[in-house]
């Protein structure tokens, strides 16, 4: 058909909207494909790792030796005895050494060689950061080991020292594996049992049965650690889940919105073709032929865009995938390209744009060709709002601007929608950052007024050391399916270290039972609710009633008066287990159980966020680019649809400045309203997203947008709008006066 040439020429002469749409689609498809496939592949990698290297279900620390043969028979499990120890060298470095397992939690050795006696495997980053080359000698407890290769452990994927200090510091903390016989000779090792249930259904029940059996036998369970709930594995899961959800929610939303937007754009672009469609129709072209012809537009724009984007996405996968594997070392699996996702990314834009085209062209067929040829403008009546508006009191410029917005409500709504979408994209990353900032500044910093927390091995009594404040804790486990666990902390009634506010902002003193917001949200509790739980230490059951909710996101806690907690635990009222201090203190090593530094905790949070960072920032930048293109496209559209008016105004002697003001500034209110609507919509949707993530995240994050970020976002949107106006100005200058003289339409 000769008309194909016409399509290409139309696209070429009016490049901006078509290429802009193509770009938007390509970009969104790329994001979609990349994020989805990386997330899918990470998931596969994790599953493969879990099964190939037999990740344990639980790791159990007991006070006696276990009769493994008996247990295997009784519970249909695999068990392997294992051991761990922290070896600290002089300069404060800690190497966490495991014994080499052969059945459960088998290390993934990069060299593939078996580990010989006298050899040691290290985690790659630690080795690299500390300058170890294969063949080097590593000294441990006076014994020399040959560094034989790198390994990763399925039960220790995220290499951080502890749950509280989640920052990864490969210079000072690393993992190592030595042969079982060699391991015997390392002092202070803690033995534990790695257990894998052969039947992976109903793990909880099987665990409960096993725990019950052990208790019955009089074995004390020191620690029962669910491997996938252990931070070193759960962070990987969180990350994969987060990425999975983010990659489904965010890019799909972006893609969908982009498609809707470009669909509307296509609609408006084709509407301009009504004269031509009418003429061709009148000259005997069949509907089918015309439809086929106009479908070329979406096929080119969406088809090319989707193809370019999808291919680009596929190329980007490897890069992101490798990056993720350095953070979470796992044996690399071959990349799987999910055909469904690729097809979705290729087809969705094409389908939406084609549907939009079919609807708009079909609508035109309903109008008589003679009417179409006249531009299909004369018959539409003044709308209700237009008729009602009496603007006599306003200045002409204002009148014109209001009239223009009201005249083409659909265009105004399109612009509004475009701005809302652009705003949401722009603010997306800022909201995430804002939320985390809030968590850190408002949450942690406002809650804790201390630098160090020391927890002792044994209860102490009486007054705490000078300058410190004492507390007692109990590790509570809910008697429910989820086995939610949290600390109940007893504080002096006049605590100055932990400061709490209620939801109205009033100060709360810890003379009541106070629950923090995240924990209350997680368990769905309000004031007056009574919860029943058991003490992890001795398994005894207790219950308390919530009296206040504290407005803090600093952690999942219940605070209560120290004396009451002690009474509940049957301890003398001046008992404490730990102290808060502003200065670093030294205690005998065996006296202290854990030491926490608030700075390290904060650093940990930051590092956790930084890991999400690359994703968040790349999404933000992408969103920004998309937002900019959207605003430009929409502004350009406004100019195009005003061609006649602009040309007329030029003839009538309007100056460039005046025209720019009339045409481009008439949208400013729409832009502002769009922004104002966009912000709460975004915060709302981020909140929904966080809530969806709450189960998989180690913390509850409030969706907050800092007032400064709101202003910043506004400035960015306005600057973008100004930039788009600037670019549109050229377009206005190019419009010829003869346009007004030739046609009578608008």
């Amino acid at each position: 058909m000769i008309l194909i040439k016409k399509v290409l020429r139309t696209i070429w002469t009016d490049k901006a909207p078509y290429l802009g749409s193509m770009f938007l689609i390509a970009f969104s498809c790329m994001l979609m494909v990349m994020m989805n496939l990386v997330s899918k592949n990470l998931n596969n990698t994790y599953s493969a790792y879990k099964s190939n290297h037999v990740m344990s279900d639980v790791e159990v620390y007991l006070d006696t030796e276990l009769d493994m043969a008996d247990m295997k028979k009784r519970f249909n499990v695999k068990i392997e005895q294992s051991g761990v120890t922290d070896y600290s060298s002089k300069d404060g470095q800690i190497l966490r050494i495991f014994s080499f397992n052969t059945q459960i939690n088998t290390p993934a050795v990069s060299s593939g060689k078996k580990l010989e006696s006298g050899e040691i495997l290290l985690d790659k980053l630690y080795a690299k950061k500390n300058g170890y080359e294969i063949g080097d000698i590593v000294q441990i407890a006076g014994k020399k080991y040959k560094y034989a290769g790198d390994m990763t452990l399925p039960n220790y994927i995220y290499v951080a020292k502890s749950k509280d200090e989640v920052i990864r510091d490969p210079k000072n903390f690393g993992l190592a594996v030595v042969d079982k016989d060699d391991f015997e000779s390392i002092p202070n090792a803690t033995p534990f049992y790695a257990i894998k249930f052969n039947n992976s259904n109903n793990l909880k029940a099987q665990e409960t049965a096993m725990k019950g059996y052990l208790r019955e036998k009089g074995t004390k369970i020191i620690k029962w650690e669910n491997t996938e709930k252990n931070y070193s594995v759960s962070y990987v899961l969180v990350k994969i889940n987060l990425m999975g959800k983010l990659s489904i929610v965010a890019p799909s939303m972006i893609l969908l919105l982009t498609c809707v937007l470009t669909g509307i754009l296509m609609w408006r672009l084709l509407n301009r073709e009504s004269v031509i469609i009418g003429t061709l129709y009148a000259q005997g072209y069949r509907k089918k032929e015309l439809m086929r012809h106009y479908l070329v537009f979406p096929l080119i724009v969406a088809g090319m865009g989707a193809m370019i984007g999808t291919i680009a996405g596929v190329f980007m996968i490897n890069f992101l995938y490798n990056f993720m594997l350095t953070t979470f070392p796992m044996p690399k699996e071959p990349i799987v390209y999910d055909l469904g996702i690729l097809m979705f990314s290729l087809l969705l834009p094409v389908v939406i744009l084609c549907v939009s085209t079919i609807i708009v062209v079909n609508r035109m067929f309903k109008i008589r060709p003679s009417q179409l040829m006249k531009g299909n403008k004369k018959n539409d009546k003044a709308n209700f709002i237009e008729r009602k508006l009496r603007l006599d009191k306003f200045k002409f410029v204002t009148k014109f601007q209001i009239r223009e917005q009201v005249r083409s409500l659909s265009r105004t709504i399109f612009l509004l929608f475009g701005i809302i979408v652009a705003t949401m994209f722009l603010q997306y990353g800022l909201t995430m950052k804002s939320s985390v900032d809030y968590l850190l500044n408002e949450g942690i910093s406002k809650l804790y007024h201390l630098k160090y927390e020391y927890v002792f091995n044994e209860y102490k009594r009486g007054a705490p050391p000078k300058g410190t404040e004492q507390f007692n804790t109990m590790y509570a486990i809910m008697d429910d399916e989820a086995e939610t666990n949290f600390y109940i902390t007893g504080l002096p009634k006049n605590s100055t270290r932990i400061l709490l506010n209620d939801l109205k902002g009033n100060k709360l003193t810890p003379d009541k039972v106070i629950i923090t917001t995240p924990l209350a949200k997680k368990m769905g509790l309000t004031i007056g609710d009574t919860i029943r739980f058991y003490n992890f230490e001795d398994g005894k059951k207790y219950s308390i009633t919530i009296e206040e909710i504290a407005d803090t996101y600093g952690g999942e806690f219940i605070f209560m008066p120290l004396s009451e907690l002690n009474a509940m635990l049957d301890l003398p009222s001046d008992t404490y287990i730990g102290i808060f201090s502003d200065v670093e203190m030294t205690f005998a090593k065996k006296e202290i159980k854990t030491t926490k530094s608030m700075d390290a905790i904060k650093a940990g949070f930051h590092s956790l966020i930084d890991q999400m960072g690359i994703m968040i920032y790349s999404l933000t930048i992408s969103a920004f680019v998309i937002g900019l293109v959207i605003i430009y496209l929409v502004t350009g559209l406004v100019v195009d649809e005003h061609k006649g008016t602009i040309s007329l105004f030029k003839v009538l002697g309007y100056k460039k400045k005046e025209i720019n003001k009339l045409i481009l500034n008439s949208n400013i209110f729409t832009v502002i309203i769009g922004y104002i609507l966009g912000v709460p919509l975004l915060v709302g949707s981020v909140d929904v997203m966080y809530q969806a993530l709450a189960e998989s995240l180690p913390m509850v994050i409030p969706a907050k947008l800092n007032i400064w970020y709101i202003l910043l976002g506004f400035v960015i949107v306005m600057l973008t709008f100004e930039l788009a106006k600037l670019m549109s100005r050229k377009k206005i200058n190019r419009i010829a006066m003869s346009d007004a003289l030739k046609s009578g339409t608008e």
């Binding site: 403008k377 004369k378 018959n379 539409d380 009546k381 003044a382 237009e386 009496r390 603007l391 002409f396 410029v397 009148k399 014109f400 009239r403 223009e404 009201v406 005249r407 083409s408 006649g644 008016t645 007329l648 105004f649 030029k650 003839v651 009538l652 002697g653 309007y654 100056k655 005046e658 006066m737 003869s738 007004a740 003289l741 046609s743 009578g744 339409t745 608008e746």
Partner: protein, 232 residues
């Protein structure tokens, strides 16, 4: 002389082909007069008028309107010239569809130094009762009245009408021509009008016949006929 054109030439270049549209036009029109340009399609009528109105520029020759050498003005001065001196009436009215009748007129009064009174002009063109209507709620003749009102509100020295009755029926055309004649009398506006219709020439002071870019005949009506008496 109010309009004085000497040896005006204009050609268009499209690709390698150069079309000479105006081949040395000579033209004069007195202040307060009505001039009519007749000629077949493609003869260069609109081109000539556009140059006079400062929308387009001639290649050579001089175009003086009320002492202003139009052909020498730069873009900014041309804009000012159009804005202050010229009123335009088009065949297809070219009203802004989103604006009401009075707002459409305001498009022009808003940028002119000393516009006439809006109600007076609305009265003069006979659409005072329709000032809050939108263009699409008016007939073609009414729309052309609005367009004339828009052109005269700034009290232009020169009113340029490119086939003002081209899209109208017989009786409406006549009433529009009548209106133009009234404007000419009431405000002393010089009018230059393009038409296909030779009968209309009767109402002009001067008639210019254009063919292939040249004025082939020029005639002077000593006693112009009132528009209501013109028939075709």
């Amino acid at each position: 002389m109010f309009i004085h054109i000497l040896n005006l030439k204009k050609s268009y270049q499209s690709g390698v082909v150069t079309t000479e549209v105006l081949k040395g036009i000579e033209m004069k029109l007195e202040k307060g007069g009505i001039g009519v340009i007749l000629g077949p399609s493609g003869s260069g009528k609109s081109t000539l008028m556009n140059i006079i109105g400062g929308i387009d520029r001639g290649d050579s020759g001089s175009v003086v309107v009320d002492g202003i050498e139009v052909n020498q003005l730069d873009d900014n001065k041309l804009t000012t010239y159009r804005r202050e001196q010229i009123g335009f009436v088009f065949q297809f009215y070219n009203l802004v569809p989103s604006l009401t009748v009075s707002e459409n007129i305001e498009v022009v009064s808003h940028i002119s130094h000393s516009p006439l009174n809006m109600d007076e002009v609305l009265e003069a063109v006979g659409i005072k009762d329709k000032k809050h209507r939108f263009p699409r709620e008016l007939s073609g003749g009414e729309q052309q009245r609005v367009s004339i009102a828009r052109a005269i509100i700034k009290n232009p020295k020169l009113l340029l009408c490119d086939e003002p009755t081209g899209a109208l029926d017989y009786s409406t055309s006549r009433s529009i021509l009548q209106l133009l004649q009234q404007v000419n009398e009431k405000y002393g506006t010089t009018i230059l009008m393009i038409t296909h219709n030779t009968a209309i020439a009767a109402m002009a002071d001067r008639v210019f016949k254009l063919r292939s870019g040249e004025i082939v005949a020029e005639s002077v009506n000593q006693i112009p006929v009132p528009a209501e008496r013109i028939e075709w």
